[in-house]
């Protein structure tokens, strides 16, 4: 193994036995998506954690940048009226 090209990075998402959604658990290197799936099985499912695996090329993810934190997230910080907590719930409304 004198020459080792860098394998691309994949992000790994697992759905646990009782989880409803896939949760990001980490990343790994692999030559292709099939290999990434097997690596994910070997790296992140050793202790009976998962019933389903997703792998996604890290390059396919568009992420917000920490620099944009204020314009992205701060404006929502003072708009408490967006929570539906100001409405009294009538006693005869079920399942709320």
């Amino acid at each position: 193994m004198t020459h080792k090209a860098d394998w691309p990075l994949f992000e790994v998402f697992l759905r646990g036995k009782r989880g409803l959604n896939h949760v990001h658990v980490g990343s790994l290197h692999a030559a292709d998506p099939e290999m990434a799936l097997r690596h994910a099985r070997d790296l992140y499912c050793r202790r009976n954690e998962a019933v389903s695996i997703w792998v996604v090329p890290a390059t396919a993810i568009t992420a917000s940048s920490p620099d944009e934190k204020d314009p992205f997230f701060a404006p929502a910080g003072d708009k408490v009226y967006r929570h539906p907590t100001f409405y009294p719930i009538p006693d005869d409304v079920p399942h709320m």
Binding site: K4, W7, K17, V25, H29, D42, L43, R47, N48, E49
Partner: protein, 293 residues
Amino acid sequence: MSEAWSSAERESAVTDFDEYGAYESLAHSLETDDHRWAFGTGFDDPLAGIDTAVPDGVDAAALAACCLGLGDDALIYSHRLQQWVTRAPELEEETALANIALDLLGQARLLLTRAAQAEGAGRDEDQLAFFRDEREFRNVRLVERADADFAELTARLLIFSAWRLAVFQSLTRTSKDPVLAAIAAKAVKELTYHRDYAAGWVIRLGDGTDFSRAKTQAALETIWPLVGELDLGEEVTGVIDAVIARATLTRPAAAPLGLVAGKSGRDGTHTEAMGYILAELQSVARAHPGARW
């Protein structure tokens, strides 16, 4: 750990998502329905809970011999795979190989325990693994070889796991011993993955660059004489041929490695590599007999 957690702590670990990390929360959320999170600690008898009496109508000597051969295959090959740890080309591959080695070690423990029970001489898995000499081992000679490179590792793993998978599939149907049938059923799932892993790499390397193709063909040529000792049968030969064809490689025509005075690995005759493996495998146990940690 699972016993020590109160339900409130567990709840907070699951809900304190950012503080503990997503992976932790996944792990802890499982604790309520699976208390074997730390599986392996304080676990002495791999066949606990199963009726281990050899049933009537089962030839105990034949059962012991069968379990010993298959157990020794797994023990010695697991040791060879463990030698790849810290030497694999990628961290991810290293974990994959360590997983496979651990699967095989688990099979070896169960099979040697069963062999000892069927033998009825008061020995246990540790005595069989650590206190037998070379000629008492019954593994095939294929598993003894040290891999020269990664191509050899994958080619040998393909042949070993394809053959072993077929053997265990057959045992789940035909074994009159319920313990051996249960061990085989557990192993089939593991070996299916091992074969899949190895086949993926043989195809990737064989159908890769000129260099990787040459290395993989050379690996097949090197190990092929040792394949003659395995009773592959039509099905396994078909699987291996299909992988070799997809990898654009050629099945070697090399003659099987000869028997020594009519004896092969299953009879206790081994290659020169075997002594070195046993020296490494057994020296600590023999220096400190009965030591616990």
